[in-house]
């Protein structure tokens, strides 16, 4: 727990720590990626961030936080000094540590409850491996100075690790134990404790900090008596200078016996240490004090600096440079020069081999922290101003001449207002990088867990989106990316076998397109097997089998977003995606966005999200029903359909007792907005605007002149009819516009439905305002908005409307299917031709047909009259020999019954060139069944042979249709026989 409850101080610390942690993570990941090549600058940045957290935590007495950051710092120090190699394991430990620190910072008051033992154990293990003694505790053996109070008295113990002490001693520093009182030494001087800590760091290095709670009997005294803050401090300065620099009374500073400490920590012979100490201060590497630089490089006298330091002691908040400038000892340019030198020296120290600063280092931009609720309020106020402007413009319309220059003023105001509103909108925009940033870590961790090699590339981090969208985007994106790692990207071995690089790649990219922001997540993994998806979708009942045939491959793959598809075992093996993807889609659609997927088996998958720039303003269409206006978000609106009164019966019909709209072969459920919202149906007179009640019962009940044209047959009750007639008698004003329907086609997921509205107004950009708890229970509305005229209107929610209206999409799908089939049947029927045919038998159970118009005559013959000449059968016909054709000789059919004594001849018609007809051959059949007219379509797919036209069912028998002419031709009887 915090030693003293200064909330603002704690919240400053929290904010600062969060920033530090955010900055650390990418740096750690960079360290891991670049290994030994990593620039010293990055390591130092991490080190400094952790170090400053440690300082703050110590000061505010967050014990766990201090302990963990302290241990991490020790590890980082070894890394920085090249004594410890960067390994993935090491990074695991550090990254976990960062997570723990973040958890602590997030709930700072409960930070001590966060378990850190495991992390400490692992960190210690690493340190021990590197041969570092841990947490050696030394006694601050300072001799109590006169008048010293108990806080800095001997016996004070500090937690130190040998490493930092040794480092300090090697740099020729001395150790001091100092005590500062929160009120007397810090707050009363108008500086915050964090600033005080910064001060310490600027003159030396703070090794450990403590708040002395034990010294106080109780909490009240803590406030009364002024809390003591004790710290162990390493610096090259002499004791009196330390007091001056820290602005502390000398009696609160006690020097430690350096030699004793040295012996304890390093076991180094004193001589060597003495040598070190004897080294000229100018050659010490740390710290590059400004005073030192001024005197050495710019020739400012030591006296002047000393005076300035003395002044600093009184004029607390001034920097030494400022004092010197004030005194005219040096110029501002000199100070700037000195500061630059100091900076360079420190950087040089930090990065012994100068490395060019990486482009990835965070840019410090000129920015302010602003509370979000303030921005929201400003945005509302700006909206208010816009309304005010609109009202003013309307009020002054046409009177611009009354006051000279008024038009110009109004125009200017108009412009400025718009600009202001846009500007405020802009303040809510944030770069998407704040979401993208965390995925490097997610991918890295998953890859390690899964034993895969995955490289995440990020593009377009600078693309901006509204804060509210950014916030809601994290979860869906995480889900998609985790799926990529988990399922899409193969193991290195698998990839190698498939002839790919061992390392998989995920590309996360944001870009603008058409006023929207697109985010694409593509991988080069195994892709998704559409067949398996379809199979599963059918099994899960997500899609009907018969419908499935019509789906494109892309449609099929996108089935993974369908609700009910999402179970882990579904596609994990084959392809991977599908785990809770419906949730992802729902979330994206909630944002007014859209998601779709493209995939190629073995090559990879691409998921594309389309998002609006902002949620606060949405394009919408304003419509009217029952004399009230409503806004329909364009994102739900597919199209507008205008059904004129005369078309109503063709385009609107009843299915299962509910009206549906036929739209390009699809059946859309149709509702009236007034009915769904339970408002009296009314229509407004186009001229007068007067509202009238609309008495039409059903949607296809058209009580208008059009009905009369069609004659009687109206469905309404007789009484109502009479009334309606009376009304029509009074005035005929309602015709034409009256029977027309304006239909909004709305889309919810994959379902579409039609909503009849009375009026259509303009498209408008509207600002969504949430509904209060009192009005939330109507699911039909997504919110409310304020129009340009100051009126409130409701925003319709498409899915809520569909639900409220109780639409049955599945019924209609079945009906749609039935109709398609019927249509197919009708089409087939249309292809059928009316034919006059002669039905006959070959073998007694085989039925054949020939067209009557191709037959010249039918004859009955006796079997005995058949003669055979030269392998061909003949019979006498009108005094000539007529060649006979038997079907079984040319087609795969059974022969005629041999025992039959009488047979029939079908003599095909042969038309001569002069138009006369003659008999050339006779087809021998066993029986003539009938001569009939039939309307059939021939199935020509199953049979083939000379003269065969196809088959059809005639009089319940499967009948083979023949072309007799072709048949005889095939029999070789063509010319003159």
């Amino acid at each position: 727990m915090s030693g003293f409850a200064d909330d603002s101080l704690i919240s400053d610390f929290v904010v600062e720590s969060r920033e530090n942690l955010d900055a650390i993570e990418p740096d750690l990941l960079a360290m891991e990626q670049e290994g030994a090549e990593v620039s010293q600058e990055i390591i130092n940045r991490v080190f400094r961030a952790i170090h400053s957290m440690k300082g703050g935590a110590g000061f505010l007495a967050f014990e766990s936080l201090k302990k963990l950051s302290h241990t991490m710092e020790s590890v980082l120090m070894r890394v920085r000094d090249g004594q410890m190699a960067i390994s993935p394991d090491l990074m695991d430990v550090l990254l976990n540590g960062v997570d723990k620190l973040r958890a602590m910072v997030d709930d700072i008051q409960a930070s001590d409850d966060v378990p850190i033992e495991e992390d400490l154990t692992r960190l210690h293990a690493i340190l021990e491996e590197g041969g570092v003694a841990i947490d050696s505790t030394i006694q601050a053996q300072a001799a109590p100075a006169e008048g010293t109070d108990e806080a800095s008295s001997p016996g004070k113990t500090f937690d130190l690790d040998a490493e930092s002490v040794r480092a300090a001693l090697e740099h020729g520093m001395r150790l001091f134990a100092a005590t500062a009182y929160i009120h007397q030494d810090i707050q009363d001087k108008g500086i915050t404790p964090l600033e005080f800590l910064d001060n310490i760091e600027s003159v030396g290095s703070c090794l450990d900090t403590q708040i002395d709670m034990d010294a106080l009997p109780n909490l009240e005294q803590c406030i009364e008596e002024d809390l003591a803050f004790t710290f162990l401090f390493a610096t090259v300065l002499e004791e009196d200078l330390v007091a001056m620099a820290l602005e502390l009374p000398e009696d609160q500073i006690a020097a430690l016996d350096t030699d004793a400490v040295k012996e304890q920590f390093i076991g180094e012979p004193e001589g060597a240490a003495a040598q070190n100490e004897a080294a000229s201060p100018a050659q010490t590497e740390l710290p590059h004090m400004l005073g030192q630089i001024l005197s050495e490089r710019l020739g400012v006298s030591a006296d002047a600096i000393h005076t300035a330091l003395g002044k600093q002691k009184q004029g607390y908040k001034r920097k030494i440079g400022e004092i010197l400038v004030e005194q005219g000892v040096i110029s501002e340019t000199q100070i700037a020069e000195a500061l630059q030198i100091q900076k360079d020296l420190r950087a040089e120290k930090a990065a012994p081999a100068p490395v060019a600063a990486k482009a990835s280092s965070p840019q410090v931009s000129e920015s302010l922290r602003v509370r979000v609720d303030l921005l929201t309020r400003l945005m509302n106020t700006a909206g208010e101003l816009v309304l005010g402007r609109n009202q003013l413009l309307r009020a002054l319309e046409g009177r611009e001449d009354v006051v000279a220059g008024l038009a110009a003023i109004l125009q200017n105001m108009d412009l400025v207002t718009t600009e202001l509103q846009e500007g405020i909108m802009q303040t809510r925009m944030q770069p998407i990088g704040s979401v993208f940033g965390k995925f490097t870590r997610v991918v890295r961790d998953m890859a390690r867990d899964l034993g895969k090699e995955i490289d995440l590339q990020v593009e377009g981090s600078e693309v901006e989106l509204d804060k509210s969208i950014i916030e809601l985007l994290g979860d869906p994106l995480t889900h998609i990316i985790r799926n990529c790692c988990d399922h899409a990207i193969e193991t290195p071995d698998e990839r190698e076998r498939a002839g790919k690089r061992r390392g998989g790649r995920i590309l996360l990219r944001a870009y603008h397109e058409g006023g929207q922001v697109n985010i694409s997540i593509s991988d080069d993994g195994r892709g998704i097997d559409a067949k398996r998806v379809l199979q599963k979708a059918i099994e899960k009942g997500v899609v009907q089998e018969d419908k499935a045939a019509k789906l494109s491959e892309r449609d099929i793959v996108n089935l993974v977003f369908a609700p009910g598809f999402s179970t882990a075992e579904v596609v994990t093996e084959v392809s991977g995606r599908g785990v809770g993807m419906d949730v992802v889609r729902t979330n994206i659609e909630k944002l007014g966005g859209h998601i779709e997927m493209d995939t190629e088996v073995g090559v990879g998958t691409n998921v594309l999200l389309r998002l609006p720039l902002t949620l606060a303003i949405i394009p919408s269409l304003v419509v009217g029903a029952s004399g009230q206006r409503f806004a329909v978000p364009q994102v739900n609106l597919v199209e507008l359909v205008w059904v004129r009164a005369v078309e109503v019966k063709d385009r609107i019909e009843q299915v299962h007792g509910a009206p549906v709209l036929r739209l390009r072969g699809r059946l859309l459920p149709l509702v009236r907005l007034s009915d769904v919202l339970n408002m009296p149906r009314a229509y407004a007179e186009p001229d007068s605007g007067a509202a009238h009640e609309d008495r039409r019962e059903g949607i296809i009940d058209r009580r208008s002149t059009v009905v009369e044209e069609e004659g009687a047959g109206e469905t309404g009750a007789a009484a109502e009819d009479a009334e309606a007639h009376a009304e029509r008698g009074a005035s005929d004003r309602r015709e034409n516009w009256r029977g027309d329907y304006n239909i909004l086609v709305l889309q919810v997921g994959s379902n579409r439905f039609g909503v009849i509205v009375d009026e259509l107004f303009d498209s408008e950009e509207i600002v969504v305002k949430p509904l209060s708890a009192l009005t939330k229970d109507c699911q039909c509305f997504a919110g409310a908005t304020i129009m340009g005229d100051g009126r409130v209107i409701m925003i319709l929610d498409a899915s809520g409307l569909a639900e409220e209206a109780g639409l049955h999409f599945s019924d209609l799908e079945a009906e749609e299917k039935r109709r398609l089939e019927e249509e197919a049947r009708k089409e087939a029927a249309a292809a059928a031709v009316r034919r006059s045919i002669i039905l006959f038998n070959g073998a007694p159970d085989e039925f054949f047909a020939v067209p009557q118009d191709k037959v010249l005559r039918l004859e009955r013959i006796e079997t005995a009259n058949i003669e055979e000449v030269g392998g061909r059968e003949f019979t006498q016909y009108r005094g000539a020999g007529l060649p006979l054709v038997r079907l079984d000789h040319y087609l795969s059919v059974n022969p005629l019954p041999p025992e039959a004594s009488a047979l029939f001849l079908i003599i095909p018609k042969h038309v001569q060139e002069d138009g006369s007809r003659e008999a050339r051959a006779g087809i021998v059949v066993s029986n003539i069944v009938d001569a009939v007219d039939v309307e059939v379509s021939l199935d020509d797919s199953t049979l083939s042979g000379p003269g065969l036209k196809g088959s059809a069912i005639v009089q319940d028998k499967l009948t083979v249709f023949l072309d007799p002419t072709e048949l005889t031709a095939a029999a070789g009887i063509e010319g003159d026989a």
């Binding site: 209060s772 708890a773 009192l774 209107i793």
Partner: protein
């Protein structure tokens, strides 16, 4: 001593403690919200903020209010706004709702000041009005001032009578 903003529904005089009232206006261009609780009259735009207007008549089981020239909206403070007052005045008994709400009433009366001693507990019910909507009663010279229990009156789930 307490101060009450007073108003009438039909002939009955009602009051709400002034500390609970944000403002009173005649902003009666109310947008109805279909398919919601019957006592929700609709929404108004109050300088950019959307306020839910309750028909106090329906709420108290009287008739729905007709909007006329004297109709007024009594806009109540939200819990957020009230918390300041509560802290300043030390009045933990003051309660309202989270969302901005206004009450549609027939006409507005004067502010009535009453001593604690004059404020009496309410009857179990008052005509058709359910006792849970009532907080207390003050006898005036010519009238009986009925003080409403605001938190109960504007609660969304208290629709059933």
């Amino acid at each position: 001593m307490k101060q009450f903003a007073t108003f009438r529904l039909d002939d009955q005089l009602f009051g709400i403690e002034v500390m609970l009232v944000r403002e009173i206006n005649q902003h009666t261009e109310i947008t109805p919200v279909p398919q919601t609780a019957d006592f929700v009259r609709g929404l108004i735009n109050l300088r950019g903020q959307i306020i839910t207007i309750l028909d106090l008549g329906v709420r108290l089981d009287l008739a729905a209010r007709e909007i006329g020239a004297k109709s007024h909206i009594v806009v109540l403070k939200t819990e957020d706004e009230l918390s300041l007052v509560r802290a300043r005045e030390g009045r933990d008994d003051l309660m309202t709702g989270e969302d901005p709400v206004g009450l549609l009433v027939d006409s507005i009366g004067d502010v009535v000041v009453a001593e604690e001693a004059e404020i009496e507990p309410p009857p179990p019910n008052l005509g058709d009005i359910d006792g849970r909507f009532l907080s207390s009663v003050v006898e005036l010279k010519q009238d009986v001032l009925v003080i409403l229990n605001v938190a109960e009156t504007i609660q969304e789930n208290g629709q059933e009578a």
